[in-house]
């Protein structure tokens, strides 16, 4: 089995899956479920291409979905540099970003970068919206598929 991160949003996954018999678990598996269930989401991603790919993925499955979001490599670099999750949260304007998501009336905040799992408790604590952590959900998918 192969477990991939948000890089897969910019890959041709159909082509990749044809090349290997191994089961591939990626954020796209999580996004499939989100596209079916939600009408409005706010995505936090590491860069523009990932954010754009997530939006395209959602809209090709749910044309009426409202997708807004934020991307920055800065929080990724901060997460890789700083060890204390509370300091990471405080050093970047995550509180403003979460407030923005609430003002835009999103139904949920999607952590579209697996680095963000590192500060999931802090994000959940400050968010007025449900938080969907792609990394944690992928782990659950791997567990489910291993026990199937």
């Amino acid at each position: 089995m192969i477990f991939c991160n948000s890089l897969t949003t910019t890959l041709d996954m159909k082509r990749l899956k044809k090349l290997t018999p191994l089961h591939i678990v990626s954020p796209l598996d999580v996004y499939e479920g989100i596209a079916r269930k939600l009408k409005s989401i706010y995505v936090i991603a590491a860069n523009g291409p990932t954010l754009s790919s997530i939006e395209a993925f959602m809209l090709t499955r749910n044309a009426t979905m409202k997708v807004t979001g934020f991307s920055s490599l800065e929080f990724v670099q901060l997460i890789e540099k700083e060890t204390d999750p509370v300091k990471i949260f405080d050093q970047f304007p995550f509180a403003n970003i979460l407030e923005n998501a609430h003002q835009l009336k999103a139904q949920a905040v999607i952590l579209g970068c697996t680095h963000l799992s590192r500060i999931r408790p802090q994000i959940k604590e400050h968010s007025l919206l449900p938080v969907i952590d792609t990394g944690t959900m992928m782990t659950q998918l791997v567990q489910a598929s291993l026990h199937a």
């Binding site: 089995m1 192969i2 477990f3 991939c4 991160n5 948000s6 890089l7 910019t10 890959l11 041709d12 082509r15 990749l16 090349l19 290997t20 191994l22 591939i24 590491a46 860069n47 291409p49 990932t50 490599l73 990724v76 670099q77 997460i79 890789e80 697996t114 680095h115 799992s117 590192r118 990394g135 944690t136 782990t139 791997v142 567990q143 291993l146």
Partner: protein, 61 residues
């Protein structure tokens, strides 16, 4: 069963492995970049190369 974790940086790959290993799942980490900037560059400037690299990893794995 062992799970290959393919992610952007060593940090990210280790995080993925840590989350899986916490659930008792054995992992084999495969980072594709050393830094977030390098990962970004691959996505922006060399998407074809990134596809080829991950395809070759998937075939070997």
């Amino acid at each position: 069963m062992k799970v290959a974790v393919i992610a952007g940086t060593r940090f990210d790959t280790a995080r993925g492995c840590s989350m899986l290993e916490h659930s008792g799942i054995l992992c084999y980490p495969i980072p594709i970049a050393d830094t977030p900037k390098e990962q970004n560059q691959r996505q922006y400037a060399d998407a074809g190369g990134l596809q080829t690299k991950i395809e070759s990893i998937a075939i070997i794995t």
